[in-house]
């Protein structure tokens, strides 16, 4: 079930990007997450790996799913978890990102989980603090735990990642989920396809190791995994695509397009979904949809990442 590699451990101080993660590191995290997923199905889910540690969720961008997933992961491992709602904090009073980082750093957290609307912001912050930093999404750059939970979901459902054909469909241009997944899936030996209208494709995306399609029917041909992306509301009306109706017609996942993929193809979506925009409601609830499993694996993967980072934390 797992790839056997000599260096199957994750020994980094931060998790900022999927670029450069080795197959061994990813496998190590997925193995820990597998066990965490089992624990999470027990009555007693609590462990003490992070007992005495402080975890701060610092979210500069609204998020329900990821923030609560990290919160639960931290609490199940015994950490003290604090959520910082930045929309109502001093950042909106003109404090710079770096000042905020320094202020939080002075409170001596052990792990900072950061989401920010600008690419590179989490990396900038990580340079200024003493604790471990987890990137919970920075602009259109990276969202590492999302790609890891997707990989875990795929591995548990299919028994492997290597050799599978994965189609990532939708707003690739603005998607950190797509970038992170391209990195992880390529590293784990999957074949990655990108399906999007040309207005939602970033420059030179083929150079990242993906085959590019703007015809969804062709792109889904013989795929093992269909991974849909959310289309942001502000991009629906004319600036990138002319209308939700037209988008749904050509890039929405309905039963007809899904039939192009393999008969046992899985349906994935990082959420939150726009039913009837990028995905038909009945497809989202399809027997082969693993969208709810993704949420469940989200907690497990975040526990695995926290546990792996905690092993690197100083004990004195």
């Amino acid at each position: 079930m797992t790839l056997v590699t000599p260096n199957a451990i994750f020994a980094r101080r931060h998790l900022l990007t999927c670029e450069g993660l080795t197959a061994g590191e990813i496998t190590a995290l997925l193995d820990i997450a597998d066990k965490a997923a089992d624990t999470n199905r027990q009555v007693n889910k609590k462990r003490d790996v992070l007992a005495g540690r402080t975890l701060i969720n610092l979210f500069f961008e609204a998020s329900t799913r990821t923030q609560s997933s990290f919160e639960l992961a931290g609490k199940r491992l015994g950490a003290d978890v604090m959520n910082m709602n930045v929309a109502t904090s001093s950042v909106s009073k003109g404090e710079t990102l770096i000042d905020t980082a320094m202020t939080l750093n002075a409170m001596r957290p052990d792990i900072l989980v950061v989401r920010h609307h600008a690419a590179g912001a989490v990396e900038l912050l990580a340079q200024k603090v003493d604790c471990s930093v987890i990137n919970a999404g920075d602009g259109a750059h990276q969202h590492p735990t999302q790609a890891l939970l997707d990989a875990l979901t795929i591995r548990r459902a299919k028994g492997r990642i290597a050799g599978l054909t994965v189609a990532i469909c939708g707003d690739i241009l603005h998607s950190r989920v797509a970038r992170s997944n391209i990195d992880v899936l390529n590293t784990m030996g999957a074949r990655v396809r990108i399906i999007a209208p040309s207005t939602l494709l970033p420059a030179a995306v083929d150079r990242l190791g993906a085959e590019v399609f703007s015809d969804m029917n062709k792109g889904l041909e013989d795929c093992d995994i269909v991974m849909m992306l959310r289309l942001q509301r502000e991009r629906m009306q004319g600036s990138f695509v002319p209308s939700t109706r037209e988008y749904y017609h050509f890039f929405g996942l309905d039963h007809e397009k899904l039939a192009r993929a393999k008969p046992d193809a899985l349906i994935m979506h990082p959420g939150p979904m726009n039913r009837g925009v990028e995905i038909a409601s009945t497809v989202a609830d399809h027997a082969r949809s693993v969208i709810r499993e993704q949420v469940e694996m989200g907690v497990a993967v975040r526990m695995a990442v926290l546990e792996a980072l905690a092993r690197q934390l100083p004990n004195q």
Binding site: A119, G120, L124, A140, R179, P202, A203
Partner: protein, 442 residues
């Protein structure tokens, strides 16, 4: 704009002996000497190599390069309005340390330099506070809004050496046509920043694999070429003198080359950053390398170097743009554009010479006589009667840039901690030493 004209008769002559005279205007590169009297070059040649005239102060150049001081035609300061970034005085000290004896300052200030009184103000401030020559490039539209033409005739008569829309591009084709058409009557030079703001909207760096990996919105290079191409057509239509301020890609260069081949009055510049750095240098979001136009691919950088060597690119500028730490230490897309460059202009440019990409004479030509001719300045050459704006340079001396030692008020150098080869030993403006290397590190 010479210094101390009144005291000149009592100043003794200065003679520079044992110099390697490098003068791009005459393609001179030979051992010799140079005599300075009353702030101007009084004599030059091999006969002065060892023989100092009686009574003259002797400077032994020890075979180092004696060349015309550099002319930097794109310098942003914060004066007036944002002196915390840079004043004319601090910019001039940075210039002197970098071997730049003339700076042409941009009108992107608060207020915008779009009126006669403001041009006069900058000239007076330059005369009183700066230690190098300061010239003004005035706004060609009011408040740089790209709508109404400024008083180009009167501004030119006051001393504006060229007209520009600063960091912004005139999108209204009709306005641009009128500017070129009107400025033609005065022989005024129009200097244009060429980036289509609609195509570059929200962009943070060159569009390509690197921007995609970093998740940063890209700026396609053709957003520049499209404007250059349009402008060249308007030059063809109007006959106005046109200079593309800083081009950055091979496609724009091809347009300029074709325009020159047609005999149109078109020239262009390049910033030293685009000759020596590329998009990969941005690495993990280094905001000090966030520039406009953005750093391009290595292929485009090489095209710029070839364009310079072939003479299709006329001048090199530093594009000196002081920004304070607060606006630079931000997430990349939100950080301010721009980098300082006066003090590293020559040393960075010399990389091309040391790499054998371009000869010393051709390189210095784009920093001296070419901008002098373009902007109608008397300097930029080693010639009897020309102002004694001179630099003495040890072109082989290695050093490492340390921002703590930079004289600019802002420290946003893209070359911080970079290795350089080539040190300005002494800078003279109108015969007066305004900078002398004291052996400090960096």
């Amino acid at each position: 704009m010479r210094k101390n004209q009144a005291t000149a008769p009592t100043t003794p002559d200065t003679v520079f002996i044992n110099a390697r005279l490098v003068d791009p205007a005459t393609s001179r590169d030979e051992p010799g000497g140079l005599l300075v009297r009353d702030g101007v070059i009084a004599d030059i040649g091999s006969h002065l190599r060892r023989n100092a005239p009686e009574g003259a102060t002797v400077v032994d150049c020890r075979n180092h390069v004696l060349a015309p001081g550099l002319i930097d035609a794109q310098v942003y300061t914060g004066e007036p309005g944002q002196e915390h970034r840079e004043s004319l005085k601090t910019a001039s000290h940075a210039a002197a340390a970098g071997g730049v004896t003339t700076i042409i300052v941009m009108p992107d200030t608060t207020p915008v330099i779009d009126q006669v009184a403001l041009v006069d103000f900058i000239q007076r401030r330059g005369r009183d506070n700066a230690i190098v020559n300061v010239h003004v490039m005035a706004a060609m539209t009011r408040e740089l809004k790209g709508e109404e033409i400024t008083e180009i005739g009167l501004l030119k008569r006051t001393g504006a050496v060229a007209f520009t829309n600063g960091k912004s591009t005139i999108t209204n084709t009709r306005t641009m046509r009128q500017v070129l058409n009107y400025s033609k009557d005065f022989g005024a030079l129009v200097v244009h920043h060429t980036e289509d703001p609609y195509l570059t909207l929200g962009g943070a760096m060159n569009s390509g694999e690197v921007s995609t990996r970093l998740g940063l919105p890209g700026i396609h290079k053709l957003a520049e070429t499209i404007v250059v191409e349009r402008d060249v057509r308007l030059v063809e239509m109007t006959g106005g003198r046109y200079h593309a301020a800083t081009i950055s890609c091979a496609e724009s260069l091809a347009v300029i080359r074709a325009a020159k081949a047609k005999g149109l009055p078109v020239t262009c510049g390049v910033s030293v950053n685009h000759l020596t750095l590329n998009e990969n240098d941005i690495g993990p979001y280094k905001t000090f390398l966030k520039l406009r136009p953005p750093l391009r691919s290595e292929n485009d950088r090489m095209a710029m170097v070839r364009g310079l060597a072939s003479g299709d690119i006329d001048i090199i500028v530093s594009s000196h743009d002081p920004q304070d730490v607060d606006v630079k230490r931000q997430p990349f897309a939100e950080a301010a554009d721009g980098a300082i460059g006066l003090e590293t202009l020559l040393a960075a440019a010399l990389r091309l010479h040391h790499n054998e990409d371009i000869g010393l004479l051709s390189l210095l030509k784009a920093l001296t006589i070419n901008p002098a001719k373009l902007f109608g300045l008397p300097s930029g050459k080693l010639e009897k009667g020309a102002p004694a704006d001179l630099i003495l340079v040890d072109i082989g001396q290695p050093w490492v840039v340390d921002k703590a030692n930079l004289k600019s008020r802002s420290k946003n150098s893209p070359f911080d901690e970079s290795k350089m080869q080539g040190r300005v030993l002494r800078t003279l403006v109108a015969g007066e030493t305004v900078y002398q290397y004291g052996g400090e590190n960096g």
